[in-house]
Amino acid sequence: MIWVETIIQGILLGGLYALFAAGLSLVFGIMRLVNLAHGDLIVLGAYLILLLVTLTGLSPFVAAAVAMPFMFALGYGLQKFMLNRVLGDDILPPLLVTFGLSVVLQNALLEGFSADSQRIQSGPLSTASIEVAGLNLGVMPLLTFASALAVIIGLNQLFYRTSLGRAFRATSDDPTTASLMGIKPAGIFAKATGIAMIIVTIAALYLGMRSNFDPSIGPARLIYAFEAVIIGGLGSLWGTLAGGVIIGVAQTVGAAINPEWQILAGHMAFLIVLLVRPRGLFPRAVD
């Protein structure tokens, strides 16, 4: 029973990681953009939601919905005026620019909000639980997982069922040729980053509700998100969910053996998957 519970908790944790990773997976898959500022953008989103909640007294969920257009615009602008200029075959320039962005964001948030830990209050929801077959499952983790699932399904629909999705994939293959199809690569990339930022806002909502955050907390989460994206396979959204779950389960199982091994176990799972499948679980035919 303990093991069943451990694994279920791991799967739910995986939902959180997948949520952190989904936006990353989107920009990574479409633009080969290794966004080192992703974690800090999530923290920024959390502060935005917090601000809305404290200023207007809205429920966090409504506040997140209100924050989404702002975050979309931020992503759009960021991509259009900054990141587009460094995209190319070489992964380093975007890596460095987003690293710079990460440093700037962290310290700007520090100046703006101080180093105090904050939390988005969600009232009784944060400790609520339901009993399923003798297991106490937190409502918040279940919601997190459900949101991750919804995000992945939504993105998949967008990607594989719409012409915008085709344009995303085409541009990711070859921006120059895509422009010959009437696609504005710069605009498409900006839309993609905008959409990624909407997902970031959802991730921020759960990050902010489940635990404390402060301006420095972003990077620590980034590595799990990257692991989820990479073991899932570049550009595969279901893969990202699977990757998140693998890391989550590895962590809880590792911790159940000994808490010293919790984080290590997640990393080891990542390394082992890559050892067996160097291009991830669901690699794209060409990349």
Binding site: I91, L92, L95, F99, Q106, E111, L274, L275
Partner: protein, 361 residues
């Protein structure tokens, strides 16, 4: 086309490079003599500059020449430093020779790392090396004998009785702490000179050509007989060894270690990448220029706390956006000056009527 084969010859030397080799020798002599008249704070600044330069050169060798963008070099700094600390603390070695052990430890770690990471490409490689460094950090944090997650300090007996310090104390008439700084500085000078000379030598041999070929197009390189795998192994192991030595030396001077500090992504990889990219990747001059810029920024702004870091971030972004080949790239594109030229230029025959540096019309 006539078959009157005229005499061809190959040149790598340029006028600037001949001048710079003379200047280099003078600089080295000056660097060695520096402690005789410089203040201690200058010596320490120089130590910082030189060790960061070494890290930057090795990262540049990996990424700029080998095409291996590693985000996990902190693993080698950390393992080197910890190896040095552990033989000093647990086995009573002297710290100075232990620096070599630091390099060997990093080399040993690099072997399994390479086995794994070479299966990965591009961004996968970058993230893979980062995770490996995390794993090593977490493992070292479990090593209770050197303080676990808390960290530890070099025993004071070991630092006080370190090789050469007494000689330096009497030579310059300074206290032992200052003597240790001078010792560390000299070791850093030796390491930096050896690093630059070694890398330059490597690039001038045919291995340098092979490296460039592998970076450009690995399939084609294999098809013309370049052993791509061996090339990658060579640069990876050499970089790890050098990075480990630098790690040992840096922590010999710091005398205190903890896993979070020694395996810091920010200090030992992110800043190093920043230095290389600001200066100009894929050149030897780039990291030299980059480390100077980085140092100047740090001394001007470090007291402004978070504003300093913000400024650093903004500068990094700006340079990437407006001078993607770095400051040295910007400079040498304009002037054509190369201090460490590696380009093989064919002259003679029908080429002799066009002087090498003139641009096509």
């Amino acid at each position: 086309m006539t078959n009157a084969h005229s005499d061809y010859s190959v040149q790598t030397r340029t006028k600037a490079s001949s001048i710079s080799s003379v200047v280099a020798v003078l600089l080295i002599v000056l660097a060695i003599a520096l402690p005789a008249f410089a203040s201690r704070s200058l010596i320490q600044d120089m130590f910082f500059i030189l060790t960061m330069l070494v890290l930057a050169q090795f990262w540049n060798l990996l990424a700029g020449y080998g095409g291996l963008v590693s985000v996990g070099q902190q693993a080698f700094v950390g393992i080197g430093a910890y190896a040095m600390f552990s033989v000093v603390i647990l086995m009573g070695f002297d710290p100075v020779p232990s620096i070599l052990i630091a390099g060997v430890a990093a080399l040993l770690l690099a072997i399994p790392t390479a086995f794994f990471a070479f299966r990965l490409q591009g961004a996968y490689f970058a993230i893979g090396t980062w995770v490996i460094a995390e794993v090593v950090r977490l493992l070292v944090a479990q090593w209770k004998a050197v303080g676990g997650g808390t960290g530890t300090s070099l025993p004071r007996t070991a630092t006080r009785e370190m090789w050469f310090t007494e000689t330096i104390e009497t030579l310059f008439g300074v206290r032992s702490a200052a003597a240790r700084d001078i010792l560390a500085y000299w070791l850093a000078v030796v390491l930096a000179v050896a690093t630059i000379a070694g890398i330059y030598w490597l690039l001038r041999t045919k291995r340098g050509l092979g490296l460039a070929a592998v970076r450009d197009n690995i399939e084609a390189a294999k098809s013309v007989g370049v052993d791509a795998v061996r090339m990658k192994w060579t640069v990876f192991l050499v970089s790890a060894f050098g990075t480990g030595i630098a790690g040992g030396l840096i922590y010999m001077q710091k005398a205190r270690i903890s896993p979070d500090a020694a395996f810091s992504l920010q200090d030992w990889t992110a800043y190093v990448i920043f230095i290389v990219v600001i200066g100009g990747m894929g050149t030897i001059e780039g990291p030299i220029l980059g480390v100077l810029v980085f140092f100047i920024l740090q001394s001007l702004l470090a007291d402004y706390g978070s504003w300093y870091l913000m400024a650093l971030g903004v500068i990094g972004i700006t340079i990437m956006l407006f001078a993607p080949r770095g400051l040295w790239g910007l400079f040498s594109d304009r002037t054509g000056i190369e201090l460490f030229p590696v380009r093989r230029r064919l002259t003679g025959g029908p080429l002799s009527n066009t002087p090498p540096s003139s641009k096509e019309e």
